[in-house]
Assembly symmetry: C2
Homo-oligomer: 137 residues x 2
Amino acid sequence: MDHAIHGRPYEQTNDGPRFRPCAPHGVLARLGDKWTILVMSHLAIATGHRLRFSELKHGIDGITQRMLTLTLRNLERDGLLNRHYFPEVPPRVEYELTAMGASMLPALEGFTSWIRDNWPHMEECRQAFDAAKIKHG
Amino acid sequence: MDHAIHGRPYEQTNDGPRFRPCAPHGVLARLGDKWTILVMSHLAIATGHRLRFSELKHGIDGITQRMLTLTLRNLERDGLLNRHYFPEVPPRVEYELTAMGASMLPALEGFTSWIRDNWPHMEECRQAFDAAKIKHG
DNA sequence: CGGAATCCCAATGGATACTG
DNA sequence: CAGTATCCATTGGGATTCCG
């Protein structure tokens, strides 16, 4: 591959650059689902980057047991967090960011800080766009 | 709001922080769909951050006319690009990043560079996880 | 050329009930 | 407590056809 932008290698063709399928969309799509960012954010600010299942469940408003489990399984599969099971009665399970999971936080923070700065303007743009669409059909 | 992390304000409750619904997930979910990042990436490296519909269509492998149109409409609605229509025969339409759209590129680049660095390790983790799951049920 | 409209299928994710 | 299993409504997105 000659070049890469946004993590995606691309080749120059006669009608412009053509990207080849690879990571960024895949990961962004994973992180962009309904709950993943919230789970990561909670672990980010937790002491030791570690929380138990019920703490996540109570902290994330509206999440169901099923979706929290699925989200945690995916993050565990990606190597972004570890699952610690304590076979007590009743059982206790803690989730902890891995080194890779923690290393993602600055990049995520950089991106979300842009979002925080530009969100109000985006909202204005959306309302203006919708208003214009209604106005002239 | 007392605190904010990853662009999301949160309140401290007796059982940990509770985030309130707001921007980051929404934007990440939008950018994390199947084609948005590819469109942004193409405009990022285009001269003048500007390309016509057919250039995007040919550059992005596998995208359908419908999905390219929808993706561009959403980005336009968000104020991240502008649509320039030239009423010639045949018609020509160009899409150009706005100032806000261009301002997103460094943050996106920061995030995707993390992805590029960690993608191989993530793939390893996934294969190890899947292999372990098959092994012991 | 650059769409819009329609049809259809697969995936996402919510609600609920059950379990070690 | 921390799941798993099942059912079901909604959405995402591909294929195709038609239009200015």
